[in-house]
């Protein structure tokens, strides 16, 4: 009886350790494989980033970003060399052509995943990078292709970085740092650098978003004063270095006489001027599908106990929007609540 019990316990234990899929050994192996993959991919990204700055990565720089011990860094680099992805020379470590393609694939997965989190899951900008750092290593190439198609082949990630194409090419970012932009000329934010995090948080605090128009009002030795539709902000030059801007093109321009749907008073009405550029993906499609296309008349129909959401009359239907959504609809006011027409 007790022998039987012991035998069963031993069998159970053996299964727990050695089961092909769920056993501890299998789990440990999977974990090791994932760790090795993510380490070598992180190393590829680092070498690529340095190459973009026209520098060669070194063992020291690799150890610095990855936080690995020197011996582990050596192992990773040796692995990359065997795969034919990097070449070490006198000045440091360089990517081979195939290594660059591989690195760009990882970057592609990262940026598409950020786009997905931002568009589909409404994740705030400040959290995207961390989440994508984890996801980029576990997405297969087919999954990345499906994600790309699902998102409608986006060209930029939520920060404005170009997304590498499936063939491993990438378009250059045509933008200069805000520090180099002349005072008094409107500029369009093309890209916000999300690393280091402390600087990025400072950018988010000023409520800056890609595709937003900014104006440099004052340029001082240590800081800039910029104007956006959200107000005036004082920005240190070290922060401004991480904001990249370009010329405003006619198709980027939004009408100047405008307000947001969320700010219309009860009973007021207006005409849709467009959707805010930082509203992308699912939420943009939803708003468009409801008929909030440029030129559509909108009227504030209902308030509720909490003042949020509010319902709007659009094309003969009543649609409720939360404040966050209503803020993304830009409006040319037509009529104030007392019925007076707005000045043309």
């Amino acid at each position: 009886m007790s022998a039987l019990g012991l035998g069963m316990a031993a069998a159970l234990l053996a299964a727990l350790v050695a089961a092909p899929k769920f056993g501890l050994v299998a789990r440990w192996k999977r974990h090791r494989a994932y760790r090795a993959k993510s380490r070598s991919e992180d190393a590829l990204k680092h070498i690529l980033a340095w190459q973009h700055r026209s520098k060669l990565a070194t063992l020291e720089s690799l150890a610095g970003t990855t936080g690995l011990r020197p011996a582990a860094v050596l192992r990773v680099v040796a692995g990359l060399q065997t795969a034919g992805w990097v070449e070490s020379g006198a000045g440091g470590i360089a990517l081979t052509a195939s290594g660059e393609r591989r690195a760009l694939q990882v970057v592609r997965a990262h940026r598409l995943w950020e786009r997905h989190l931002s568009d589909d899951a409404n994740m705030p900008m400040g959290k995207l990078h961390q989440a994508a750092e984890r996801a980029e290593h576990s997405l297969s190439r087919e999954e990345v292709a499906r994600l790309d198609a699902h998102l409608g082949h986006p060209q930029h990630d939520p920060h404005g970085d170009p997304i590498p194409r499936p063939d491993g090419t990438i378009s250059a970012l045509e933008a200069v740092s805000l520090n180099e932009w002349p005072v008094g000329r409107p500029a369009l934010i093309a890209h916000l650098e999300d690393e280091p995090q402390a600087v990025f948080r400072r950018i988010l605090l000023a409520n800056l978003r890609p595709m937003q128009v900014v104006n440099v009002a004052e340029s001082e030795p240590n800081h800039l004063v910029i104007e956006t539709d959200g107000g005036r902000h004082r920005i240190e030059r070290s922060v401004a270095a991480n904001i990249h801007v370009r010329e405003v093109r006619p198709q980027d321009a939004l009408p100047s006489e405008r307000t947001r749907l969320a700010d219309l008073a009860q009973g007021a009405s207006g005409e849709v001027a467009g959707l805010s550029p930082d509203c992308q993906g699912l939420s943009r499609r939803r708003l468009l599908d409801l008929g909030l296309t440029p030129g559509t008349q909108v009227e504030v129909a209902l308030d509720n106990t909490f003042g949020d959401p509010r319902a709007f009359r659009v094309r003969g239907t009543t649609v409720a929007l939360r404040r966050q959504q209503a803020e993304q609809v830009l409006i040319r006011p037509i009529r104030s609540p007392d019925g007076a027409e707005a000045a043309p």
């Binding site: 589909d120 899951a121 409404n122 994740m123 705030p124 060209q155 699912l282 296309t293 209902l302 959401p309």
Partner: protein, 465 residues
């Protein structure tokens, strides 16, 4: 490239290539041009007869969603639904019970007279038939009233207004505004409520709605709440307002369920399901005149008969099981007494008793049979003929089995919070395809129910009340 070399595949490849080069704004142009064309067609062929209907709807909406009246009107409507149900269900329930138990007595004596063995008579008539009789008489009248009345509200187009009124709370809890709609479905049946969460696109918020749907008391649990409300709350008030008081207490329980829904959603969206509220848009359809035939069909055939049928399917084996437990002896004690004694300490700790817990164990397949199971256990071999009015039930529970106000309150809480029935658990699995979420959906409410009941029981016992 000459025209001969253009193959369909080449065209597709070329369009694919060009497609990748497009930026997102082409969607905007597409939708805008579709709407423009549709507006053109509508302008040519649709004639509007003034704006009377819209103005009327608008006036109603101004009241139903107004800053001060919106929520009170919602509570009043909910209370009215329960009040009508309680008022109307009492007498038909008694009549059904009387009729069924007359049949049981007659059939049992006929079985005896033709010499059927005692266990056959017992199993068929005092087990299976009695289980069915209790389920039908306790459940059918409230359901046959509640479902049509609720369907009227649904058919009028009122439910989206509820979602509109409550959305702010759900947003604060990190949940989706349409969760209010899935909760309304849960009033009918939690399994249906879980299925209805498909209207929520965001997977995170959909999971929240699935995991918390159980905190809306479904129709299978209403009879328990209504019975307790009538026996313990209504009895404390003068007859004129008794039904109102009972309805108010059921509304209070439902509100408590809403609080738990919001609280648990809030906690989950800051722990296991962390994330931000997704985009929310809700269309508010115009009010429409309810169609009597459709209401009768949906409420009676689709809902009442469906739910009752499911309850009967589980009540028959449950009735048989209870009879067997009560009539099989091991060591001179019946199995029922043994299991009750086993569960008694746990039951007492959380302010209930062993019978109630046994009823909940037996009622895992369907919550509808909790009250019938409990009554069958309490009454044992007593003839049902004598126990059909709520006063008599009160007599048995308070007089013979030591129920107190604490038992009633905790049973209401337990009934509101405890684990979903087997059908709902199965539905959660079908909708999530994940054993982990299913387990959480079943065990989290159960744990919460035990904790809350334990807390109230201990608080009441420690406080000098």
């Amino acid at each position: 490239m000459t025209s001969a070399s253009v193959t369909p595949q080449a065209v597709l490849d070329r369009s694919d290539e060009l497609r990748r080069g497009l930026d997102g704004s082409f969607r905007d142009y597409m939708v805008a041009s579709l709407y423009e064309r549709a507006g053109e067609l509508a302008g040519r062929s649709v004639r509007e007869h003034g704006s009377g209907k819209w103005d009327f709807d608008q006036r109603i909406d101004r009241i139903l969603t107004s800053r001060w009246l919106g929520l009170p009107v919602m509570l009043l409507l909910l209370g009215a639904v329960f009040w009508v149900t309680i008022l109307g269900a009492n007498i038909p329930s008694q009549m059904l019970a009387n009729a069924f138990f007359a049949v049981e007595a007659a059939a049992a004596s006929w079985f005896e007279s033709v010499g059927a063995p005692w266990w056959l008579t017992g199993l068929v008539w005092h087990g299976i038939f009695r289980g069915l009789a209790w389920v039908v008489s306790v459940m059918l009248p409230p359901m046959a009233i509640f479902f049509p009345v609720f369907t009227i509200l649904e058919d009028l187009g009122y439910l989206p207004r509820v979602a509109f009124n409550l959305d702010w709370l759900f947003r604060k809890a990190g949940a989706h505004g349409k969760q209010a709609l899935t909760m309304a479905m849960g009033f009918g049946c939690n399994a249906a409520g879980v299925t209805s969460t498909r209207i929520i696109d965001s997977p995170r918020e959909r999971l929240l709605a699935i995991l918390t749907n159980n905190f809306v008391p479904c129709n299978g649990r209403f009879p328990t709440l209504i019975m307790l409300a009538v026996i313990f709350v209504a009895a404390a008030f003068p007859p004129a307002v008794a039904a109102l008081a009972a309805a108010a207490s059921v509304v209070a329980v439902v509100l408590l369920g809403v609080c738990f829904t919001l609280g648990v959603s809030w906690a989950l969206s800051r722990s296991l399901l962390s994330g931000e509220a997704s985009a929310f848009t809700l269309e508010m359809p115009p009010y429409r005149r309810p169609s009597v035939l459709r209401i009768l069909y949906t409420s009676l055939i689709d809902r009442t008969i469906f739910v009752l049928g499911r309850a009967m399917l589980t009540a028959a084996p449950a009735g048989a099981l209870i009879w067997i437990l009560a009539n099989t002896q091991a060591g001179g004690v019946t199995l029922a007494e043994r299991s009750i004694a086993l569960l008694e300490p746990l039951g007492t700790a959380i302010g209930l008793d062993g019978v109630i817990l046994l009823a909940y164990v037996i009622a895992i397949p369907a919550n509808e049979i909790v009250v019938p199971t409990m009554l069958m256990c309490y009454l044992g071999g007593a003839m049902m003929m004598d126990i059909t009015t709520y006063e008599q039930i009160r007599e048995v529970l308070v007089g013979q089995h030591g129920w107190t106000l604490l038992t009633a309150v905790n049973l209401m809480l337990f009934s509101l919070l405890h684990n979903p029935c087997a059908t709902t658990i199965l539905t959660i699995w079908k909708e999530t395809r994940s054993a982990r979420w299913t387990a959480l959906g079943a065990l989290m409410p159960l744990g919460l129910a035990f904790l809350v009941c334990l807390a109230t029981a201990q608080a009441v016992r420690l406080l000098p009340l």
